[in-house]
């Protein structure tokens, strides 16, 4: 029931708890669940769906608010009698059951107009697949560091120490640019990677995701265009949609973004920046060559168009030799570098940084202040302490080794199980890689079969600026160990082969003879 529960079209795009609430509301409406019937225990349903118990609790609370069910202390949650339900619904202006986010009490949803960019965002969200990650499903779609590796105890100790030592100053407003200690620690790490710039040029932000929003707003107005790689990070497309910005596609070749295409784009007056992920590209997993990086910088400098470099996995190289970042190669001060701890440590503390110069730096500080004043000091200072203690470097060594082993297992499994003609990338860092099937199909169509077969992936179309169908998919090694990876890819190979066979009468067999 879980898979269908979290993937019904009618609820796609809604928060998980609302999808759950709607599912049960409709089950009750159509009589599948009768008065007095007991809903699954919160704990077991949560485990079944791979969700936090509070999410399910929230869904049940909403159903109760709406009069569908009632909680009986110590016994569980039960479907209410029709009469009771009717009575509840009949209250003046009472919320309609199953209404997304509908209210308790007597207030209807207001009839107000949303900004067109927001309407755009909502419909964009509705096109995203919803995943039900049950216990037994191999999650090759997740780009979240493996929670099994989080150095929580070290971080907890740092947080506890700084809260004990720093006192009130830790709980007041930070400067918009953030805590000087963390900025200095980051600047010296960047310096060691050849990136010139003092702590004064670093603005801390709310993960690289806020960094993307701020960097886009720094250079672009609604109606402007930003050049992006094809494929590119899915959420940068959401950020653009939310800001009324258009993403202009730059094709990728083996070396990185195509220079001619980029130059043609940057020549256009309304293309105001170039967003790129040169190291451990998302979703490709590849890295732009050193020679190509120099060419890209030349083009941007000649066109006087800034480059937004997303270094979200720059600390995660596990093989091969370092390629200097664009920020390190930049001699004209046009690169804005985004950094994040979300993939190299854990995402939950929401800390990232943006490096900029001169007017761009001034604008960034003003923009950060106007957007949310500043970020949370306790987290920043605890993280600075964590870095200074060496715990971050120790952690990096651990997960780099983990990444190497898992990518090797992935490469091996893809060779063993995918259909003949399948191609894939071999990253030297990060979590993600790109797999292209030899069949003319939209991998989005494989998702339901794959989920049933016990494996999940991200269909390539999610990463296309124009949402075009794609025969490729993004896989990650972040939340699956070697044996799980092998099991997941075997299942994926089956599904792909069968679809291939259905299309061309070939497939599995061919796949076996790689």
């Amino acid at each position: 029931m879980c898979a269908e529960l979290l993937s019904t079209d009618s609820t796609a795009g809604l928060p998980a708890y609302q999808q759950i609430a709607r599912h049960f509301a409709s089950e009750i409406r159509r009589g599948a669940l009768r008065a007095g019937a007991r809903l699954p225990a919160i704990r077991s349903l949560a485990a079944q769906l791979g969700l936090h118990r509070d999410t399910v609790a929230l869904a049940y609370e909403q159903l109760s608010d709406q009069g569908w069910v009632e909680a009986q202390v110590g016994r569980g949650t039960f479907v209410r009698a029709k009469g009771l339900l009717a009575a509840t619904i009949a209250e003046p202006g009472a919320a309609l059951p199953g209404d997304p986010g509908s209210s308790v009490g007597s207030v209807p949803d207001g009839d107000v107009e949303l900004a067109p960019q927001v309407e755009e965002l909502i419909s964009l969200g509705n096109t995203r697949p919803r995943y039900a990650t049950g216990e037994d499903v191999v999650a090759l779609h997740k780009l979240i560091p493996d929670p099994r590796f989080y150095p929580i105890e070290d971080f907890r100790a740092c947080m506890n120490d700084v809260m004990t030592e720093d006192g009130p100053s830790l709980f007041s407003y930070a400067a918009p640019e953030g805590d000087p200690r963390l900025r200095r620690a980051l600047a010296s790490r960047f310096g060691a990677q050849g990136i010139a710039g003092s702590a004064a040029q670093l603005v801390l932000c709310h993960g690289a995701s806020q960094g993307i929003s701020l960097a886009l707003r720094l250079f672009l107005s609604p109606g402007d265009q930003v050049a992006v790689e094809v494929p590119t990070y899915a959420n940068v497309l959401s950020a653009c949609a939310g800001l009324g910005i258009t993403a202009a596609p730059v094709p990728m070749d083996a070396e990185g973004p195509d220079p001619e295409a980029l130059d043609r784009l940057l020549a256009k007056p309304d293309v105001k920046a170039f967003y790129t992920i040169p190291s451990f590209h998302n979703p490709l997993g590849t890295s732009t060559s050193l020679a190509r990086r120099r060419v890209l910088l030349e083009i941007a400098r000649d066109r006087a168009v800034p480059i937004i470099e997303d270094g979200f996995e720059m600390d995660l190289r596990f093989r091969g030799s370092e390629i200097p970042s664009l920020a390190a190669l930049d001699t004209s001060g046009i690169v804005v570098l985004l950094f994040s701890f979300s993939k190299s440590l854990f995402p939950g503390i929401r800390v990232g940084s943006i490096s900029a110069r001169g007017r761009a730096l001034e604008g960034l500080v003003a923009l950060k202040h106007a957007t949310d004043l500043s970020d949370a000091l306790p987290t920043q200072v605890a993280l600075a302490r964590f870095l200074e203690s060496g715990a971050y470097d120790r952690h990096l060594a651990t997960i780099r080794a983990m990444l190497r082993a898992r990518h090797d297992a992935m490469d091996q499994a893809l060779g063993d199980f995918m259909p003949a003609g399948t191609s894939w990338t071999r990253p030297e860092g990060g979590y993600q890689l790109w797999v292209e099937l030899p069949f003319d199909l939209d991998t989005r169509d494989l998702l339901p079969d794959a989920a049933r077969a016990g494996v999940l992936f991200s269909p390539g179309t999610l990463f296309m600026p124009d949402a075009r169908p794609s025969r490729a998919m993004r896989l990650t090694v972040s939340c699956a160990e070697e044996d799980e990876i092998r099991r997941g890819v075997a299942a994926l190979g089956d599904v792909a082969s069968h679809s291939g066979a259905a299309l061309h009468g070939t497939g599995r067999a061919g796949g076996m003879h790689l």
Copy 2:
């Protein structure tokens, strides 16, 4: 030297550390500080300026990066010999001394175009006064809860507990709407204040300041207008500028915003929302009457224009009886309510919430996700624990009593020391009040004299959508105890009276006979 150091026009609008760096750079340039001269010790200069030591350290580091000074271990920071300096500066592409945010190494500031809204923000920032809050200055300009009251130990314990108990799930991504526990705790508090709505309708955000940005983006596109009160919260004007939104003024009378003026504005198609602070208005300190609140809701409902209600101090009533919030009175679901812990607890954790319904709720979740994915879970969960423990309510009782005493002292002092004809508001909650002088002057012009006399305030012009001059000023009781308030207002009365005398040959004497 501190006051002038942090208020030179040439550095206004720059971060404090850059103002400090620029000050010393120019002192060295003009020979006032010669080679070998020792800069003030970081600790003492920081104390003198009322800044954190790291801010001064950052300034010295920038000066060192730029070749002006060198740190000698254990001895201090010294001005470098001209030769050395020249050599440093002469390096290819070396940063120019005193350049705001200029880089170390060999990278110049890039020549890139910023978005016009960002240029607007920068110039807006440059018009803001810079304050040097030395030890002896009474800070009646600060709207930051008094650090002496922060319940740090209770919060530290909650943070430590949840980090110990919750494990990895606490350090992963939250849902865009935030932690269900904190949302439930907030929803039940709101419910107790008559605000209908379940936890499902609450989206947690990064302080009410991010709430303002998100709520504006939810309803307005660049070029649209938002109706705001005159005067209004200064940072909402920055938020508008950064989003390319125009603030349309609604005059205030004794009851609140003027209904006719509001109706005329909301009739315009490009006025897409009304931003209001009905309780403990910032900067006025007054509250909109119950009758007027109902009228405002009617107008907004008839015009189908949403109301953004800023409840940033709604938990801080210390006198008089509760007036239901617009969200509590709303029967048509058009009110979006902003809440924040920044003033009722402490700002450093950056937690606030937005309540919305239906499509607005859906849009809000999509917008939050596209902006920064989600907020930090550890802080949200620790805060939920803090609320459940009763520590928040205990804290509210303490600071409400503190606010009552300080406002009484303020009211008394204003009567004793301000010139005849001065009028001021008598808030029933919150930190701020509004003082209007009987003279035809711009209170901005009083600031330097006031700073010299040992008191700081916020000139009224800061809160005017059109930045028009104002004879009023905002005072706060947040960071001054009763005796400090009395001392500060006495000094303020002197300064005001002398300016009044200069203008009209009246003043102090009259002020004494109130």
